[in-house]
């Protein structure tokens, strides 16, 4: 240990140390520059949403609003053509339902692949991961045709039926469940528990962390989804938030104060969720290779 410390010290004589101090300063300067570039678009959005209808039209634009006002938000909330609560409800319904289904299927199938031996297990695992690795743009067209056939176009269930199995979720759960001791399961079996009871009573309660991670990722993915909802839903009252945002934008493209306020209202919920679950979210993304 002493040699290591000595080696570290040797690599920095007095002159070097001064340079190192400046280097440290540079590091922070660069990080803060990066930080402000990351935050600037958010700030610009929020500031613009607080400007009045006349101020927003000024050229060149002001940066800080002269008289910050919440009027734009009130306009949006009171717009009879824009029942926002319903759209929040639609988005929430789709996201929460998909989260519940994904958590259930991922943990159950992960349990199966982690703790049971049966013929064709590896083939099954490989085959069915393969079917899920095909990019969504390819299955989008037949998916639409199927929904049209079974009458699920313009139904929120159309945004749910195809996402019941999640390859990443199954991987994650299998990995986690493999680390649970077999003795625990055998002990419960000796006590007369059925295999389903093992799942509900023994396995599921141990899965807190991976369930939280997977749940948050699935929620965000669905909350932000744009292409597939746009394909499936055309009726205004069934739309989810991202589609309603672009629609609102096309109606008010000359009033950025309103569209920016609408963007804030649609972006904010997920940022609040993120604020509380930051650690889980980042960890989940690091593990996944899945993108929103």
């Amino acid at each position: 240990m002493a040699t290591i410390a000595a080696a570290r010290a040797r690599s920095r004589p007095a002159f070097d140390r001064l340079r190192c101090g400046l280097g440290h300063l540079m590091v922070y300067v660069l990080l803060i520059v990066g930080l402000s570039m990351t935050l600037m678009p958010f700030l610009w959005m929020i500031l613009s949403s607080l400007k009045t209808a006349t101020e927003i039209l000024r050229v060149p634009p002001t940066f800080w609003p002269d008289n910050p006002t919440l009027a734009n938000y009130l306009t949006i909330l009171n717009d009879p053509k824009l029942p926002l609560l319903r759209f929040y409800g639609n988005s929430l319904f789709v996201a929460v339902t998909n989260v519940l289904i994904t958590l259930f299927t991922s943990s159950l199938i992960g349990f199966l692949f982690a703790k049971y031996q049966f013929h064709g297990k590896r083939v099954l695992f490989g085959w069915f991961l393969l079917t899920m690795m095909i990019p969504g743009q390819m299955t989008m067209i037949p998916g639409y045709l199927i929904l049209a056939k079974v009458g699920l176009l313009n139904s929120l269930w159309g945004l749910i039926v195809f996402s019941a199995l999640d390859a990443f979720g199954i991987f994650l759960m299998r990995q986690f469940i493999e680390s649970l001791p077999n003795e625990l399961l055998d002990a419960a079996r000796i006590d007369g528990a059925s295999e389903w009871q093992l799942y509900w009573r023994i396995v599921l309660p141990q899965l807190g962390p991976p369930l939280a991670t997977l749940g948050i990722l699935t929620f965000m993915h669905n909350w932000n989804a744009y292409l597939w909802p746009m394909v499936v839903i055309t009726k205004i009252e069934r739309r989810t938030l991202p589609i309603i945002l672009t629609w609102y934008n096309s109606q008010h493209s000359t009033q950025p104060n309103l569209t920016m306020a609408a963007t804030v209202m649609i972006v904010m919920p997920i940022l609040i969720v993120y604020f509380f679950f930051q650690r889980w979210v980042v960890r989940g993304f690091t593990m996944s290779g899945l993108k929103c």
Binding site: A7, L31, P61, I141, G192, S194, N224
Partner: protein
Amino acid sequence: MSTLTVGRAKKRGGLWVSQRRFILSVTIPMILYSGVGLFTIGWALVLAFFDYSPGRAGGPILGLGGSNPFVGLKHFANMIDGVSREATQFRISLRNTLIFALAVLPLNLAITLPLAALIESVDRRLKTAFRAIYFLPVITSSVGVAMMWGYLYDPQRGLFNAVIRLFGGTPVAWLSDPRAQFLGVSVAMWAVIGAYLWQDFGYNLVIFIAALQGIPQEFKDAALIDGANPRQVFRKITIPLLRPTLLFVCVMTMLSSFQVFDIIQVMTNGNPNNQTRVLVLDIYDNAFRYQRMGWAAAVSLVLVVIVMLVTIVQMRLLRTEWEY
């Protein structure tokens, strides 16, 4: 004690039967469900060889045949040297998608790798804070990002042109000037690349930070004892050990930039003059706006093949033979 006796009273065979029943009750629905997935993939493949439009009645099986005739490889031949509008649009989209992906990957790495090294070198609590904030754009909905950036780029009232005017430059019509170019690529394309990079860099950043943390300190210490300076340590130890991560990041970044849609559809919808039209946008427009689903299925097949090729090539190029 009583439960234990009950358990013992069950025969071994009984336990096996109940396990098998459980396995079947999970696998059968699963196989059926992923069978639907396989059917969908097969259908997409078949559609690429038909001139299919959902508006026409067509034949008895999936509406194929009849007024939706089988055309063989005609779509693909068209893509190569057709003169129709959809054929030229396809070639433009393909070219734009390649430009987009080839610009995004190096720019992304040039931002994220140094930034990750910087963040890794600061105090632990600050590190968490930095990482959390840099990650914000990743979780923001891409439609929201497109709205924010569309307004930043606004020619009259946007922030960018305000800054340009402040320094006495000429304002730029970022998203709508078909003649504006930079390095041979249209300014509109650079503009959407900028927005995409901003949204996406945090993802690679956290992966690099995690990978840097995973490199054992002993390796660096050993090199220091042998007299290496910090820069040599970074070049000779850190970078080679990051290779698996680098591979993963390159593949993921390429894949997702080949599939870019949301930001471009909202910000430019492929304009000006198709200069930002990309493949997924082309697929979407053909399938759901012009009802040319056969053609769109053929384009999506091309996209899937490209995506797979890119993955394989990058795996080969960046493969490592050892682990630590």
